[in-house]
Symmetry: C2
Subunit: 476 residues, 2 copies
Amino acid sequence: MAKRTITPRSEDYSQWYVDVVLQAQMADYAPVKGCMVIRPNGYAIWEKMQAALDGMFKETGHQNAYFPLLIPESFLHKEAEHVEGFSPECAVVTHGGGKPLEEPLVIRPTSETIIWAMYKKWIDSHRDLPLLYNQWANVVRWEMRTRLFLRTTEFLWQEGHTAHATEEEAEEETLRMLGIYRKFAEEYMAMPVICGRKTEKEKFAGAVRTYCIEAMMQDGRALQVGTSHNLGQNFAKAFDVTFQDEQGQRQYVYATSWGASTRLIGGVIMTHSDDDGLVVPPRLAPLPVVIVPIWPKEELRPTVLEGIDKITRDWRDLKFHVDAREGYKPGFKYNEWEIRGVPIRVEVGPRDLEKEQVVFVRRDNGEKIFVPASEARAKIDEVLNAIQTNLFENARKRMEDRTVVIDNYEEMKRLNEENSGFFWAHWCGDRACENRLQEETKATIRCLPFDQRKEPGKCLLCGKPSSERVLMAKAY
Amino acid sequence: MAKRTITPRSEDYSQWYVDVVLQAQMADYAPVKGCMVIRPNGYAIWEKMQAALDGMFKETGHQNAYFPLLIPESFLHKEAEHVEGFSPECAVVTHGGGKPLEEPLVIRPTSETIIWAMYKKWIDSHRDLPLLYNQWANVVRWEMRTRLFLRTTEFLWQEGHTAHATEEEAEEETLRMLGIYRKFAEEYMAMPVICGRKTEKEKFAGAVRTYCIEAMMQDGRALQVGTSHNLGQNFAKAFDVTFQDEQGQRQYVYATSWGASTRLIGGVIMTHSDDDGLVVPPRLAPLPVVIVPIWPKEELRPTVLEGIDKITRDWRDLKFHVDAREGYKPGFKYNEWEIRGVPIRVEVGPRDLEKEQVVFVRRDNGEKIFVPASEARAKIDEVLNAIQTNLFENARKRMEDRTVVIDNYEEMKRLNEENSGFFWAHWCGDRACENRLQEETKATIRCLPFDQRKEPGKCLLCGKPSSERVLMAKAY
């Protein structure tokens, strides 16, 4: 057995994160720099995420498709901002089947260009619109500094790409999908988020407007967990995609794209986990319940297992696992399941069977709960819900505690240095001030939040007039 | 609307196949040679396939994981047969992030090498075994001659990779997974198959033994729809993966791998479809039922739709679609849903509502069935089952009719030329005869079938003694 020691968060937050990922066996480093292997304990969470998001996409009329991995390099060049943003990050295939290629191919860093090349073939009339497609795929972006799940050269994601007849429809779709990400973050990931619009500097390369949701990690830094782009007619123009409207006129098509990736798994870890290992919100837990039988003497093993069998006979609708391994002490098993983040541990020993009870231990707060065996099944649902709510509530409080409305740049710098966190501050709208903020504090403007009143003020940096506060924070 | 004309099979079978794929909007050609786009109508079938196979994998104790797309070129060279088989087919990444790479990376053509490099890190003791992992992924093989779904440069698949302590266990696993493919082919794809072992010439590059399932397409040619490989200790030795057994000795690990891909979709099309378009077995049909309302006069539309609403009120457990589009005649809609392969079309007009009946039309045989409205829901399940059975039965009969037990090479050549089909013939076991068969007839030895009695005979080609018949056929 490998040694298991997780560095405490207070000592080294970055190392703590790596320890949790590796020791909960969620991912491992791959032989190629910046790439990772997602191990079953991590992938199972991704499957739960996929199921939930995919369901919401389909409910709102989207269909899945699959577009090619390889994109002719020249496609990237058709949209000016897009190539500038993505070209430096591309992995390039120059040889295939033992021969040099006539034109190099890039591995998709995102699929707008290949998808709009196809939409040109498929869209002709207003009757062909809207096209509401999504794909689940891998993408590659050559990153300098990587971190398991949060930033890797290859990652898994979904990317939605829709085509619309009008600007209004495209804007509606962009915001609808942002709403789905928000709902998913809050209700599944138990993660409160700030929704808003990116600045011109931070928007997607090729978008008219980028919307995002930003969450706060335990160290006070921000993580962007989903983005939704209104692409206007930029890609339609780049790929000459027009449709005949109801009046018989040819018009360029309006586009959106939106994505969320395996970085969400990193976000879950950094939001909820603790010094004992992974903590997962029950709605994303591949295994919500583990039962650890306790036999003080070897000869009691069959009796205890039989007792558990009786208690769980009608638990068919629940995913649970009985850890009946021999040769391991209960304490060892507790540790192992704690590291892996199973929300409820059920302990059952001979005494419990005599008393017709079982013991629950909550992963989120360690609370022990004694439950009559006959009520255990119903109690599980109740406790899982309580854990889900408690995790959200903790994250919400943390965000509240570490969010400061601020008007003094020196104080902001001091707080940001000491403690990170979110800062609501006035900004004049100038790129120069935005750049200076980043250079001097490493914080960036995360978004122009939706959820705020207009309020006159002065730019935190230059003192010029400003009409609203923006969200500033250091980010992953 | 694009013109829809499907070339009849009798005229040009290959063109018929392409017409069905394109006109049912299952896939389209991508801008990169040999690659395809899987459109929603095709991808939805893949999702049904994934759900069924994934369920069977998990029931048998397998877990999903995800390994990187990019593999250092040197890894391929560690297993001698493997590199010989796959190196000529690789797409090679030579640049990343704007710079030439120190070592070229290949896009995985299959993942044995990267996976066994990781297994070396994870396997140490017999307690770590077996490892039963699967991944759903894209792979790239630089193919000379491609065909939508059946052979494309990039394709989607699942690849299982397991590690075992003993040779027996590995062999059991290899056969267990072949059994799952067989079950899936027969029960979901409605496709009878021949199970057997590949010859040395045809086995997987790096395997000790390759098992396969082979199906017959409507033109009499074979399609390999799944393979399962016993890899012995070849990859464990190449990557130095050992474990400590219960006696404290270090032993090399035994391996299997097994895969099935989006070519299955091509197999379904080529097995069941007809000159009117796609035919899909109901268990794989994303949309099992479409309802086409009929209104002889525009003003009857609300009444008909309301009637349908009443009839379908308790159909919540069924996926169906009401095609209430205005401006299209019912006949146009019938055609469109026929091309797309929806198993049951339900027609409802004012007369039907008066009689409290609906009309079913079966996609597989065109049969019209008049059903009392109150019994329609139950009848749907019955008819879907009947279609599933009928499709399997048709395919079974075709395979029976076009399979010949043969001992005369000249006659085999004549039949193979005229009519293709499966040939059960004796083979001496020599590679020379196997090569000659392929050169002279384009047929190959598809497998050494499990399901046959031992029987002395003479090699079809050279006349030397043989103890069993093999399966010969031209293949896709």
